[in-house]
Symmetry: C2
Subunit: 433 residues, 2 copies
């Protein structure tokens, strides 16, 4: 019997996260204070984020950061996640490529987001924080943070982008089962939300708007910090457990990826799978390709500008050096709610600028076709976000079929789509564009 899944024991859960900033030849440019335009230090971020995450955010010297034992203990609830050889998909595509995926959908909340949520909630608890706020699109991050807050005994308030709140009611319910307070954004509960609703009463929201609301609530609430599920350097850092495990698992399979692929919203799942492999490109010149797959309707990597921009719609955040469509950009109402964000993470933006990675943009219809093919072949219904990675993988596998090359492709299955079935319904009914 050919081995299908490569499983690591609990003892192999990484003990350190990989901080690519320390090893990049061109360091990411610093965040700037929006008023003074001066580079920000860790302590400048303390009013918004917990202190440890703030320090991690600007740490460009330590390549390895210890994972607290309490976080590893909670990782053990679902990690190590399986690396899977996609024999079913290979057969369906009749490709000579060897396709592997890292299955982050097996986390209890259904996505990779828990890897950073547990870390952020833990640090907040350690620092005596009692309340945290956040934004969420499709709800993967919100669900993860709601659960992580419960684990460490913190109250959690989530602003969910209104279109996703309506498209994916089950994710709201999941957050509520974990005890979180969930508000559709834009809302009347913040100045940022009121301003937007006043200008556009039927606004369906965006991650940028929801971030503004969550930041504002955190600043108005005593003993409360804001947390973010993507974009930032410390989030990418926490997500590297994905790639660090995958590296060992690929070795178990006796292979090394020629191409590493992930979907792209702000960069969290892409960074997680890619950075540990990219390390070998930076340090040893390994010839691996890295592909970020973004929605054609929100194409910051392929069509955005590299410039300083706000991370949120209202302009509450520091200025970030990134590929961006502009912080006022309102993305189309695609089902991949987690990818509806105007900017790319700072590290990824630098890596793209330096030619260490590539990006492709994919139309929604192609992503759902890929998701259905994958579901039939591998049994797992992927999240609409993850469908972008699958579609990019299929493109590469088809190229291998044409060229006859037996390339090794690794992609990150960031989450399952069981709470996104209404999107599949619309796709099957021919009602999607």
């Amino acid at each position: 019997m050919k081995q299908k899944r490569f499983i690591l024991p609990e003892s192999e859960i990484p003990t350190r996260w990989y901080n690519i900033q320390a090893e990049m030849k061109n360091k990411p440019m610093p965040m700037l204070h929006p008023g003074t335009k001066q580079p920000l230090k860790a302590e400048d971020l303390f009013p918004i984020f917990c202190e440890e995450c703030s320090r991690q955010e600007v740490n460009t010297t330590d390549a390895w950061i210890d994972i607290p034992e309490e976080v590893r203990e909670k990782y053990a609830y679902y990690r190590c996640t399986p690396l899977v050889r996609a024999y079913g998909l290979e057969k369906a595509l009749d490709t000579p490529a060897h396709i592997y995926f890292k299955n982050e959908s097996v986390s209890p909340v259904g996505s990779h987001k828990l890897n950073s949520a547990l870390a952020q909630a833990y640090y907040c608890k350690q620092e005596g924080i009692t309340n945290i706020t956040t934004e969420t699109g499709a709800g993967q991050w919100g669900a993860a943070l709601s659960y992580a807050a419960r684990v460490f005994g913190i109250e959690c308030a989530v602003y969910q982008v209104k279109i996703s709140y309506e498209q994916k009611p089950y994710r709201r319910s999941i957050m509520q089962v974990f005890g979180a307070q969930v508000t559709p954004s834009p809302s009347m509960s913040t100045r940022a939300g009121k301003d937007i609703l006043t200008a556009n009463p039927t606004c369906q929201g965006s991650l940028g708007t929801a971030i503004s609301e969550a930041v504002e609530l955190a600043q108005m609430t005593p003993n409360c910090k804001y947390t973010l599920g993507s974009v930032l350097n410390h989030v990418s850092l926490h997500q590297t457990v994905i790639g660090l495990e995958a590296e060992k698992q690929m070795a178990m399979a006796g292979e090394y990826p020629d191409v590493v692929i992930a979907c792209f919203g702000g960069g969290s799942n892409f960074s997680g799978i890619a950075f540990p492999f990219m390390r070998h490109k930076i340090l040893e010149g390994k010839n691996t390709r890295f592909i970020a797959a973004e929605p054609a309707s929100c194409p910051k990597l392929t069509q955005g500008k590299f410039e300083y921009d706000f991370g949120d719609e209202a302009g509450y955040t520091p200025l970030l050096p990134m590929f961006t469509l502009g912080h006022k950009f309102q993305p189309a109402l695609i089902h991949a709610g987690g990818l509806r964000y105007h900017g790319a993470g700072v590290i990824v933006s630098q890596l793209l600028k330096d030619g260490l990675m590539e990006a492709v943009d994919i139309e929604q219809l192609e992503t759902f076709a890929a998701g259905c093919l994958f579901a039939k072949a591998e049994g797992i219904i992927p999240a609409p976000e993850s469908c972008h990675a699958i579609a990019a993988t299929i493109r590469e596998a088809q190229k291998c079929k044409e060229s006859g090359e037996e390339k090794v492709i690794l992609f990150n299955l960031s989450g399952h789509g069981l709470v996104d079935m209404s999107a599949y319904d619309q796709y099957l009914a021919g009602a999607l564009v």
Copy 2:
């Protein structure tokens, strides 16, 4: 770090199913022909079921049945499933009990049902069958069979109990993504359905009714067989992979269960976890307790009669010797759709009669309270069916707290509840009874 999950490598996927019939001191009584009242032989079942499953159904001599390599290969897509120490739940209950659960929710379709679906679809394919039909309640079995049919290239038609079809629309979508045809039952597409709808136009359906429709469609369709997701002996047989793995995993944990618990509809997940451990009770007199947890509103084990009864509402099936509420019983509209069945499997009925196991019945509200407690403690939102097993586990763990006993409790987490969030919504809103 205390070990949380006990993981077996792919090579430890069982190579044989355990057939408890061969080792029971009192064999199950035979199925009877409804007309002649004569015991049925395997070939009498060939018109309804595939031949291999029919032979397995009446096999009371072979304790071990080889699992076909092609089925093991597909098991490897998700097996071995983890055995998990529920530290979070133990802490929440402040109990000295050691609680373990076998996590069958990690199967791609979200429940243990795939263990038998893959076997049945495989045998049908081997025998040249091109179409299969089935019934489903909550949709766990229907989703599993839809995927299994896709894996082996067979067409699949599912009658889903109407109340579940409406309560859980995402499960219908999941089946459709896998390419199945899904019809709410009772429907006008069969005589059985028409008769029921004529008598009661607003009938919300039951598993018994859906079985009648699926059997009738199979009999009217060329080269088509009927498949069942529970109750029957061959289904219980296939599910024993759960307990066979759990046995090895409990040994890894250095413990042996004092109590084994599962929810109970027709018996498939209960049999799966219990029979391999019950073997040691039968052969070696091990003093393990086995508890089947059924809904208070469908209490065949605790309040039914042991007698010959039909497996379906219309009376198309053979007569089965079982604990039953009568095949015309219409269960209350609880959310645990998979437990809304009037009868208990033949083997389990005999075991209960012989005092080898126990049953408890639990009110819906208690099950959802247990499910929410478990979700917060372990991060996994359980299926409403599985909530019954959790509620029974909590009762036992609380007894341990009172007595101070450090008992080892093992329960089967048959599936997750991510597609059942509307039920949780109602529970949290105080709208459930």
